[in-house]
């Protein structure tokens, strides 16, 4: 009996050993090629290149792994834009409004590369040619989910930097993500929380920001929305300032929602297109069925008009809901 169980233990541990070895061999190959190609490097805490504002972060950061051109990066004027993995339509809309303005005002955007709000913030920043800093919650060369991996490559390609305090292939753990948040907050001047549920990880980011005395801005949301419970609470208890038009103008020195482009395109709209566009502007995001009832035209016609408007970038659709862009 004892002998049998001993053999079993030996066998399984041998199998584990084999598997582990294969993994290490594979990952080494992967790491090797990518370390060279992707400009992976390491900045020690003692190095003079290590950002001074990260020295005060507690628990201390031993050093940072990076991909991309660390030296060329402008580390000033960074804003963290964070939120949950599950992003609502509202969150997406806010990002598409706010991030371009922050970028236009010369800010770089920091986020955590997680799917949802983080990735959307990175993506929008890339689209408007802003500076991007992504901070990973796992090893710098860890093969994470495809979306994050591709986005990280994209960031590096566009002159951004991806950071991590974890070496090589370190796999993510539940506690690595909250730890990562302290770096996100640490390098940023202020933190914008787009959305947060009742127990969202974004609240953890907020508490780091409180400890490090960073300015916190939360986007207020509907009282019915589960994804805005956290942000509304932050605003209510005075932890965060509400991100309003005025506040954004104060930060960027510009007005909310530049309508210049739309005004230009509006001139080119046909009567039909303008009617539809105008009713979308008045009634807010609507489904096609709702639009048909408002403009009282056959469905086919409405759909054709919508397509034409969409082609010109005047309206946009997500999962059956249309709004002006």
């Amino acid at each position: 009996m004892i002998r049998e169980s001993l053999i079993f233990v030996l066998l399984t541990s041998y199998k584990d050993f084999r598997r582990e070895r294969e993994r290490v061999v594979k990952s080494n190959e992967y790491c090797h090629t990518n370390y060279v190609q992707d400009n992976v490097g390491y900045i020690e805490r003692d190095s003079e290149k290590f950002l001074s504002r990260l020295l005060t972060v507690d628990p201390i950061i031993e050093g940072l792994w990076y991909r991309g051109d660390y030296d060329a990066q402008n580390w000033d004027k960074l804003i963290a834009v964070v939120g949950p993995r599950k992003m609502s339509r509202y969150g997406k809309q806010v990002i598409s409004e706010v991030v371009p303005q922050l970028v236009a005002a010369g800010y770089g955007i920091v986020s955590g590369l997680m799917y949802g709000v983080d990735q959307e913030a990175h993506r929008v920043t890339l689209e408007c040619g802003g500076r991007v800093v992504g901070v990973l919650g796992y090893g710098i060369t860890h093969r994470s989910e495809e979306g994050a991996r591709k986005l990280a490559d994209e960031i590096v390609k566009n002159g951004g930097v991806v950071l991590s305090e974890y070496e090589g292939e370190t796999a993510p753990k539940v506690w690595t993500f909250p730890q990562r948040n302290r770096i996100v907050v640490g390098i940023s001047e202020m933190v914008v929380i787009i959305e947060a549920g009742e127990k969202s990880g974004s609240l953890n980011t907020a508490s780091w920001a409180v400890r490090m005395k960073r300015r916190i801005l939360a986007v207020p949301g509907s009282v019915f929305s589960l994804t805005s419970v956290g942000t509304n609470t932050l605003v209510a208890d005075g932890t965060a300032e509400a991100l309003t038009r005025t506040k954004l103008r104060e930060i960027t020195g510009k007005s909310f929602g530049s309508e210049g482009k739309v005004m230009r395109d509006k001139a080119k709209m046909s009567d039909q297109e303008h009617e539809l566009w105008a009713s979308l502007k008045i009634s807010g995001p609507s489904s096609r069925n709702e639009l048909v009832r408002v403009v009282k035209k056959p469905m086919g016609e409405v759909m054709a008009t919508l397509s034409q408007l969409e082609m010109r970038g005047l309206v946009e659709e997500e999962r059956g809901v249309w709004r002006i862009s």
Binding site: S287, R288, M299, M303, S307, M311, R319
Partner: protein, 523 residues
């Protein structure tokens, strides 16, 4: 004495004449034996036949009876040989005094112990085979007889009991008087297929303008359609109303559908033809065999029962992937071949696929009032359950919004959305029929192609000439939506149907602009 009676064997939709030879020997111990590859049901026929004969007031011969079903190599399945065997015994034992021991006509049907003849499957095929083989008379169960009555040139006798049939056959030698049966008068097919009241009229569907429009396009061009929306939005109702906007069955189509229903024993007693376009809605636990057909004697599956009609797969992502995959080949070919022990069967399966799906596991993604509680990953995983090849075969993808409750309940609906002001199925169907006519003319020289959805890329290039501004629009759409080559052709095919609905020969900008809204990536 030896008697010969003719009957019919059916495998799939193929039927074949079977000669039932009955020998009642003058010597030997009393026995009753059936040979010629009988199955269990045919074997049990001995007990039914014996009691039916006795209970019809005849004497069952105490002699050695041998029944041979020829050709002996073909498997005989089912209870339909009861009647010919019984008639054969009556003839061979000279109980009913017909001089000839070989009688013309097909005898087909199951017997009850009382001598009553019961509703049997496949009677329409008996009539058709009789016509093909030049047989003048067929004797079939009364309840199934109207199925065969649509065949011209064959006298159909509706048999109620074995005794009645015995009297009829005896008349010729004067054993009974005035007990001659009369053949049924032929039922003209055109009579049967005239308009039928729809189960659900499109007019009853509140709101859902988008889904209705998509249904119209789908019906007009034979495009498969998927409706995506939260539970209770009305997906099933639209699906149920769908057959009512399809053109009514043509006589030959009705016959084709009836054949399938007759073979599977699904014709209601007393009904001559299937009059409505089939609407089949198999549950998602249906097995692969249940869907495409099967059984040791292959029977039609749901896809064949939906032939020339609608196959509605409710909650498409709930269907196991392996079940859905078997649909691919029939969807392409319009027929399905099943090979089993009893033989090979080919069933037509040319159906329109109508599917519904929830947008996420909880169903409330994108719902205006209810919060969806699914994680992004769960949603993605849910969608991936439907395989790409199946989605590829669906041309129209449509969101269905939840209906606002106040719309359902309010009495003083705005004028715009009163029941009377909404379009009825009939009005939509008229447009659909017009569009179908255009397609008929277009594909006259192409065999087997009836609708725009069936066009291959070559035909798309031939029949969907695009003007330069349309092409420009498509190029923009291509870059904006990142359309694949297949999606690109799907858009053009749908645009073709939209143009047909509008009655125009050339595809215009507005048609393509509408068509791009039904693309696959909208949900």
């Amino acid at each position: 004495m030896l008697a010969r009676v003719k009957s019919v064997a059916t495998v799939g939709l193929e039927s074949q004449e079977v000669l039932v030879e009955v020998d009642v020997a003058s010597k030997g111990f009393p026995a009753f034996e059936i040979v010629g590859l009988p199955d269990k049901a045919v074997g049990e026929s001995r007990a039914r036949v014996k009691k039916a004969i006795e209970n019809s007031g005849y004497k069952f011969p105490d002699k050695r009876i041998t029944v041979n079903l020829a050709p002996a190599g073909v498997r005989k399945v089912g209870s339909n040989y009861d009647l010919p065997i019984a008639v054969g015994i009556l003839l061979a034992s000279e109980v009913i005094g017909v001089e000839k021991k070989e009688i013309e006509g097909y005898y087909y049907g199951e017997l009850g112990l009382s001598g009553a003849v019961k509703h049997s499957r496949g009677v329409l095929l008996v009539g058709m085979l009789a016509k093909d083989n030049g047989i003048k008379e067929i004797f079939v169960p009364v309840e199934s007889s109207s199925e065969a009555a649509v065949i011209e040139g064959v006298s159909v006798y509706a048999v109620r009991t074995l005794g009645q049939l015995g009297d009829h056959l005896s008349v010729q030698v004067g054993l009974a008087n005035n007990k001659l049966m009369k053949p049924l008068s032929t039922i003209p097919i055109t009579d049967v297929t005239r308009e039928v009241e729809p189960v659900v009229d499109m007019r009853e569907v509140i709101g859902q303008e988008l889904a209705k429009r998509a249904a119209e396009i789908s019906a007009a061009g034979g495009h498969n359609l998927i409706l995506v929306g939260p539970p209770g939005a009305g997906k099933t109702m639209i699906a149920k109303a769908f057959p009512s906007i399809l053109p009514p069955l043509l006589p030959e189509e009705a016959l084709e559908v009836t054949k399938i229903y007759s073979v599977s024993g699904m014709m209601p007693a007393g009904q001559a033809l299937v009059r409505r376009r089939p609407f089949r809605s198999p549950h998602h636990t249906t097995s692969r065999a249940g869907l495409i057909g099967g059984g040791s004697n292959p029977m039609p599956g749901e896809i064949s029962l939906a032939h020339l009609g609608v196959l509605f797969l409710d909650e498409l992502p709930e269907f196991p992937r392996s079940t859905l995959e078997v649909l691919r080949q029939p969807m392409e070919d319009g027929v399905v071949q099943i090979t089993r022990v009893a033989g090979k069967a080919e069933y037509p399966a040319s159906f329109l696929l109508l599917a519904s799906a929830n947008p996420c596991p909880c169903g409330f993604l994108n719902h205006p009032y209810k919060e969806c509680r699914c994680g992004e990953r769960a949603i993605e995983k849910y969608r991936k359950r439907i395989s790409g090849p199946i989605l590829d075969r669906i041309d129209l993808h449509v969101w269905v919004d939840p209906v606002e409750v106040n719309k359902l309940t309010s009495q003083d609906n705005s004028k715009q959305d009163k029941v009377e002001s909404r379009e009825s199925s009939k009005m939509i169907r008229e447009r659909v029929e017009k569009a179908r006519k255009m397609q008929e003319a277009r594909f006259a020289e192409h065999n087997g192609i009836y609708s725009n959805s069936q066009m291959g890329n070559r035909l798309v290039k031939k029949y969907c000439k695009l003007s330069s501004d349309v092409r420009e629009f498509l190029t923009t759409a291509n870059t904006k939506y990142n359309l694949s080559a297949r999606a690109y052709y799907k858009v053009i095919k749908v645009a073709r149907t939209i143009a047909d609905l509008a009655g125009v020969d050339e595809i215009g900008l507005e048609h393509v602009a509408e068509a791009v809204q039904y693309r696959e990536d909208v949900w």
